[in-house]
């Protein structure tokens, strides 16, 4: 089906549902455009990897998936020697924007023709020419002198300027008023209306990808769980899946069932918590409190069944550590209660005109922009997309469960609330359905030797959207590269489009309706 692409291939390699197509630099734009325009492919992620220990080259991978086909098409280019630039595809495929800037920061590979080549991940605290993901990069004493407080501001960050009569800037952050994560927002407002918003994120950049390289693959699970607190289980599942696929491990049916169950439990507590949180954005205290009570009930259930309120410590490479199905009674009785309370909450919210009026037509994100910016998850489905990794690339036991990708064409805050509401109900029924069958096999498969220079993708649909890990082993079977792509990284660039034309006081509401993770995005 993609003969035109394969014609250009220098080399192809197939691994499970991943098709790697090595092409030359000149053909990159054509190949990507063919997939994007003729096949309506979605750009899932772009990442680079320093594979100089294998054949002296850097590689840049472009992961596409075509709707309705459970296969990843991964054109890749090699960069060797002194010519460390690659053609930018941002002007053709806008969602490539942040990926290319990220590659420039972390590897020093230059996306030629990028419309906005400023630094993205690294702030002034890092000296120019710091490219942490290069294998030969280290911290020198000179670097340390320039870091931290006494930094020499060599790489001054320039915000985009909006000029004209009556335009004024409102700088907010990185330390905000509430109990939330740090990020800086620069509003250019005209009166009360937001004309332009430029978020500056990556304050919580912890060097996670590089840190993975210093651990073994099995230790990495602990780190994956701590990338983004409320998506701990989705992260560890996707990470484990990537490592298992790389090592050729097929996990037992029982482990698959436990993972599916807990992924849905995670979605449930997040979605209900988010719906409650949106009430904080409209000042509806009773809705907020009721949402928080249901969430707390689910968190306490998590604690009882797994020993962690954030579902940590369950996933290991090869399977899971505990059988969660023995807690059927506890889970099902709490779910009954939650269903009742949650329906009451939704009735209250939808019957409160002051709440609904604030949500309707606020923070509208059109389908066109959502698709172009590569938005994922609830935000994409609320703007008319029906992309859901659980359907598009079925994994675990999702092929046995009956569910629909819920979507709405409105694109506003109200739509994002309703998509969450429908998905939460769907998660409850999926969890109940999981308890109707019994599952074979042990809890975990033994991890044999990890092959040399092998690689694979792992993915899951986290509460915020599609989540990807790509892992590659080095010659000793330790991580050569671990790429993580959290849904927040895709969705943050779309937030400024959604808030354009809204009033400043509605920004917290818009922001809550996306509920993006800073830590997940900042890596």
């Amino acid at each position: 089906m993609i003969e035109k692409v394969l014609d250009k291939a220098v080399k192809t390699r197939e691994h499970l549902n991943e098709l790697y197509i090595e092409i030359s630099k000149e053909h990159l734009k054509k190949v990507c455009m063919y997939l994007y325009e003729n096949k309506d492919a979605l750009l899932r992620l772009i990442f680079a990897s320093d594979e100089r220990e294998i054949d002296g080259s850097f590689r840049v991978y472009y992961v596409f998936s075509i709707p309705g086909v459970d296969r990843f098409f991964i054109p890749l280019i090699s960069l060797k020697g002194d010519d460390l630039s690659f053609p930018s595809i941002t002007e053709l495929i806008p969602s490539a924007h942040w990926y290319e800037r990220e590659i420039q920061d972390m590897f020093g590979l230059v996306p030629e023709g990028h419309p906005d080549p400023r630094r993205l991940l690294l702030h002034e605290a890092f000296p120019a020419q710091s490219h942490p993901l290069r294998k030969d990069w280290g911290i020198s004493d000179d670097d340390l002198k320039e870091w931290g407080e006494g930094l020499a501001r060599k790489e001054k960050n320039e915000f985009m300027k909006v000029e004209g009569e009556g335009v004024y800037e409102i700088p907010v952050g990185p330390v905000h008023a509430g109990i939330i994560e740090p990020g800086h927002f620069r509003f250019s407002a005209i009166g009360e209306t937001i004309f332009f918003l430029e978020p500056r994120l990556f304050y919580t950049h912890k060097g996670t990808e590089k840190h993975f390289e210093g651990m073994s693959f099995t230790e990495g699970v602990r780190l994956a769980e701590r990338v983004s607190g409320t998506s701990s289980f989705s992260h560890s599942s996707a990470y484990c899946m990537a490592v298992e696929r790389m090592a050729g491990i097929e996990i037992p049916e029982k482990a698959k069932a436990v993972r599916t169950l807990l992924l849905e439990m995670e979605r449930l507590y997040n979605h209900i918590g988010d719906i409650g949180n949106m009430c904080a954005g409209t000042g509806l205290a009773v809705g907020y409190s009721r949402g928080a009570v249901i969430k707390e009930r689910l968190m306490q259930l998590n604690d009882r069944i797994t020993g962690s309120r954030y579902l940590r410590g369950i996933n290991i490479v090869g399977g899971v550590t505990q059988d969660i199905f023995i807690y059927a009674e506890d889970i099902l009785s709490i779910l009954d209660l939650v269903t009742k309370e949650y329906k009451g909450l939704m009735k209250l919210l939808l019957g409160t005109v002051s709440h609904v009026e604030r949500l309707e037509n606020t923070g509208r994100l059109s389908k066109d922009i959502a698709m172009k910016m590569g938005v994922t998850g609830v935000a994409a489905r609320a703007s008319g997309s029906n992309d859901d990794i659980r359907k598009a690339h079925t994994h675990l036991l999702y092929d046995r469960l009956v569910f629909e990708a819920h979507s709405s064409a409105r694109g506003d805050v109200f739509a994002r609330m309703m998509v969450r509401a429908e998905e939460a109900e769907c998660s409850i029924s999926m969890i109940e359905a999981l308890f109707e069958s019994s599952y074979q096999g042990g809890l975990a498969e033994e991890v044999k030797e990890i092959p040399q220079h092998a690689s694979a993708l792992g993915y899951s649909e986290s509460p915020r959207g599609s989540l990807f890990y790509w892992v590659m082993s080095d010659k000793n079977g330790r991580p050569l590269r671990v790429k993580l792509r959290s849904p927040s990284f895709c969705n943050w660039p779309a937030v400024p489009f959604a808030v354009h034309g809204n009033i400043v006081p509605d920004f917290p509401l818009c922001n809550k309706s996306f509920n993006l993770s800073y830590s997940g995005c900042d890596m």
């Binding site: 109990i179 912890k206 928080a292 830590s519």
Partner: protein, 174 residues
């Protein structure tokens, strides 16, 4: 609208009664009462906390937020999270302190009036935790600002946070 409110009040709708809430253990309830006594005495019935995320994964923040939900309802003891460091008695820092948050954390610390208490919340605030040794973190809060007290846990549950505050009060009185 007013009619609606009265109707709801009469029917007891939308009101969460204590029986509807997930129960706290007797031990946790006792913690809360002891905590209140300490706060009443030391902070004149009010302890104001400014929470600063210095690179946390966001789990610690959600546990702090949980303290304000109707189940724990920490405000009833005079504890509250405030918007500005200038209003705070205590700074609650989470995260291993990423290098890009170092400056913001120092500025927040300096903006808090003395005497200020610094509490580091979560395993990674102690020595960087799982992120220890990464190029982008400073391996713990104590490397950036002086810390008075640690509450370990990954993340510490709302109950752990309460016990932490309680032990802190004991330390202060000594």
């Amino acid at each position: 609208m007013i009619k609606e409110i009265f109707k709801n009040l009469a029917a007891g709708k939308n009101v969460i009664s204590k029986a509807d809430l997930p129960a706290l253990s007797a031990e946790e309830e006792k913690k809360l009462i002891d905590l209140q006594k300490g706060i009443d005495r030391i902070f004149g019935k009010s302890l104001r906390i400014r929470q600063v995320d210095a690179g946390s994964c966001n789990a610690c923040e959600w546990e702090c937020t949980a303290l304000t939900n109707p189940v724990y309802d920490i405000q009833r003891f005079g504890i509250d999270f405030v918007a500005s460091p200038r209003h705070a008695d205590l700074i609650l820092v989470t995260g291993p302190v990423s290098r890009q948050m170092e400056l913001a954390l120092k500025k927040t610390y300096l903006a808090t009036p003395e005497p200020r208490i610094v509490v580091a919340c979560g395993d990674c605030t102690i020595d960087g935790g799982v992120y220890k040794g990464s190029y982008a973190v400073t391996n713990g809060v104590a490397n950036v600002i002086p810390v008075d007290y640690y509450i370990p846990g990954c993340p510490p549950s709302p109950g752990d946070l309460l016990s932490g505050f309680l032990k802190l009060l004991v330390t202060i009185t000594k």
